[in-house]
């Protein structure tokens, strides 16, 4: 990719965004659309400034739960995948339950988890719910990756009398890295979705993350604040995605096809 086309990839989306905002602002003013239907971008910005303290507090709560849930999803997903790769019996016994956890809609189990954990520990409940949503892509991708190690290399390891541990650490985990990272990129976004859904389900008072700010602002018909909270959520999601994409690229750029840029 040459310099000018790389520049275009940045400039074009930004120009589109600015044009869209101008159109939005102009329409709201021209047609006199009322604020509780569609606030103008300037009004949203104003609300963001006015509510900066409380919104940032909520952002921090949502961010913290998302990050911890994601981290635990990585540990749990990779850990279970390693366990599965070591024993077919364990995989056969447990994998169906991992699938059940994954396919059951999170919003449906949320009330149950909240009751079990207790309304005094809402944050723990949020964490569990976000984890349930986030761990599966890492588990299934890593499992696939661990099983995809080159069979000739496996033979070579056997030939040199490698231990199970050596095969795992020197061969299977490095082979699985690209798969693992692809799973993590999906899970990062899912952890945020899980947190937001769980916050909605947890409802009033005890949890004050961004999702709760949205519900609260909706109830008060404070639509500019609702948009402001929404904006922060999107920014959070975008940051997580690009952060993980960057980690993926920097880990794989030396050797993996997916991260190598070819001359044309």
């Amino acid at each position: 990719m040459n310099e000018s086309s790389r520049l275009l990839r940045i400039v074009v989306p930004i120009a589109v965004g600015i044009a869209f905002l101008l159109l939005w602002e102009g329409s709201v003013r021209y047609f006199g659309i009322r604020e509780f239907l569609l606030p103008a971008p300037t009004r949203i910005a104003q609300s963001l400034v006015e509510n900066f303290g409380s919104l940032m507090g909520s952002l921090w709560i949502t961010l913290r739960i998302t990050i911890v849930a994601f981290f635990l999803a990585c540990v749990g997903g990779v850990g279970l995948a390693v366990l599965f790769s070591q024993s077919r019996a364990i995989e056969m016994a447990l994998f169906p339950y991992a699938v059940i956890l994954q396919v059951t809609p999170i919003i449906a189990i949320a009330p149950l988890i909240l009751i079990w954990v207790g309304f005094d520990h809402t944050q723990l409940a949020l964490l569990i719910l976000a984890w349930i949503v986030a761990f599966f892509p890492i588990l299934s991708n890593t499992t696939l990756g661990l099983l995809s190690a080159d069979h000739n290399l496996r033979d070579l390891f056997r030939l040199y009398g490698a231990t199970r541990w050596q095969v795992l650490t020197e061969l299977q985990l490095p082979s699985a890295t690209p798969y693992m990272l692809a799973g993590m990129k999906i899970s990062g976004g899912l952890a945020l979705i899980g947190t937001v859904v769980a916050e909605f389900a947890a409802g009033s008072g005890t949890s004050t993350g961004l999702a709760w700010r949205i519900v609260e602002a909706g109830n008060r018909l404070d639509i500019p604040k609702m948009f402001a909270a929404l904006l922060l959520l999107s920014l959070l999601g975008i940051t997580i995605f690009f952060g993980l994409a960057w980690v993926e690229h920097s880990l794989l750029k030396r050797w993996h096809e997916s991260a190598i840029r070819r001359e044309r």
Binding site: D155, L156, L159, Y160, G161, A162, P174, T177, W255, H256
Partner: protein, 253 residues
């Protein structure tokens, strides 16, 4: 030769679970320091035989003994696959370090041996490269260096140069001969190329398919050292013709 052979195959056979008879009644002796090729059509079980010698596949019948190595199969056999089979995430130096690492040798202590193996295959300048930065022939050299780094008593090669272009292949053939002449390890070389087998080996075991078996054991007469002159000599062509005839005979029966 009076000394005990390095490897002794007696009545070796392999039947796969599917019922396919891959190999039957293989008897052969491989002398220490010899260069032996296994030549045959696809499906004659030559790779299976090589993997059985390496201990990667268990024979269904018969025995593989290592009289000159005290009866037991050595644990540091060198094996070269048809693909270079390198770890793409590791630098060349770490790929070659692998066999020593698996044996628990610290990298600091292994480094002189790694660099020696690298220089023997002419890749001293590429220790820090990643496999993807190398050509097919260079990857194959790394693979050979990795097999050599343990100073193995025997080097097993499974159609190592089959995927390379002819020019690279001839170059690697010559390099392999040179290495073999200077080190005198035992080499068992699987190939489907009659020319390559005659050019490289002291002995060619001609194999036939369905079921896989050894048809003929042919000694190769060649000047030492071998070179371009041998490749183009009448003696070379004659011996190739002899092996081709043995292969055709096997295909008929």
């Amino acid at each position: 030769m009076s000394a005990a052979p390095l490897i002794e195959l007696s009545g070796v056979a392999k039947t796969y679970d599917s019922g396919t008879l891959a190999l039957t009644g293989v008897d052969a002796k491989i002398e220490r320091g010899s260069f032996v090729s296994l030549v045959g059509p696809s499906g004659c079980g030559k790779s299976t035989l090589l993997r059985m010698i390496a201990g990667l596949i268990e024979p269904s019948a018969g025995a593989i003994a290592w009289p000159a190595a005290g009866g037991e199969r050595p644990t540091d056999i060198g094996f070269v696959f048809q693909d270079a089979t390198l770890m793409p995430w590791a630098r060349v130096i770490d790929n070659i370090y692998l066999p020593l690492k698996l044996k628990g040798i610290a990298k600091k202590d292994a480094e002189p041996r790694i660099m020696e193996a690298l220089s023997r295959v002419g890749l001293s300048d590429f220790a820090q490269s990643f496999p993807r930065e190398l050509s097919g022939g260079m990857k194959m050299r790394v693979s050979i260096a990795r097999a050599l780094v343990t100073q193995p008593p025997v080097l097993l090669m499974d159609e190592p140069f089959a995927a390379l272009d002819e020019f690279t292949r001839e170059k690697l053939d010559d390099d392999l001969l040179e290495l073999w002449a200077s080190q005198k390890w035992t080499v068992i070389f699987v190939t489907h190329s009659v020319y390559e087998s005659v050019y490289l080996s002291e002995r060619v075991l001609v194999m036939g398919a369905r079921p896989g078996r050894i048809l003929q054991d042919i000694a190769i007469e060649a000047p030492s050292p071998r070179g371009r002159a041998f490749r183009e000599s009448a003696a070379f062509v004659g011996q190739c013709a002899k092996i081709s005839a043995a292969l055709r005979e096997g295909a008929k029966g």
